[in-house]
Symmetry: C2
Subunit: 121 residues, 2 copies
Amino acid sequence: MDTTKNISNPYTVTECKTFILPVRDVIDLLGGKWRLPIIIALSFKNHRFKELERQIEGITPRMLSKVLKDLEINGLVNRDVFKTTPITVEYSLTDYGKSLDKVIETVREWGLTHRQKIINK
Amino acid sequence: MDTTKNISNPYTVTECKTFILPVRDVIDLLGGKWRLPIIIALSFKNHRFKELERQIEGITPRMLSKVLKDLEINGLVNRDVFKTTPITVEYSLTDYGKSLDKVIETVREWGLTHRQKIINK
DNA sequence: CGGGATCCATCGAGATACTG
DNA sequence: CAGTATCTCGATGGATCCCG
């Protein structure tokens, strides 16, 4: 944040919204119940649909399908179909998806200290 | 993320959940419709309740009250009551709350490039 | 195996009115 | 001014069954 402008708040409401937009995008991309588990699982290794369903306990195929589709649209996940019988589909993180790791790590570090702080109260 | 362990995924499901927990904490802290606008507004300057209500267009006193209370519980926001007549209440970010700025900035940078990438498609 | 379709429960959030 | 109390609704996600 541009602290040089904090003193008298010269930002208009519109500027403030513009500031927030890209942050909200990422929060939404990582938010929801299943996005993080799926991204983390794929950061470990590529997975097939059924593998993910087994790995991420509690998820239904409906939600798995939905989130994977969304992550694919956002360019974070690759979907590779192999024409075996029966058909197999492999999901993997794109290089771009992997670039989220550093963001997640930054967030995680703050979150770890936060946990300590809250627990100590 | 510990990339040295990514190759064969030695993480158990439990370890994976433990890994995610602090990340989820932060996402929840910044998620929802009003948390970011409130935090950003308070990062500019301290505000009274009514000032926030005016500044953050569309928010109802109910939601404002709710989120402020939650942010206070999480140690991000101070609530100072002044016994004037009528009573005035000033909200401000704690030093701890301000420490979130660097996290938000990291998230925002990634989000900005993401916007470019998505728009160009 | 890799999903889609449908129905249903829960929860975040809006609208409105009211209080100390 | 600084909130609280109800009521309501739409979105998120769960349960279950089905298909190529």
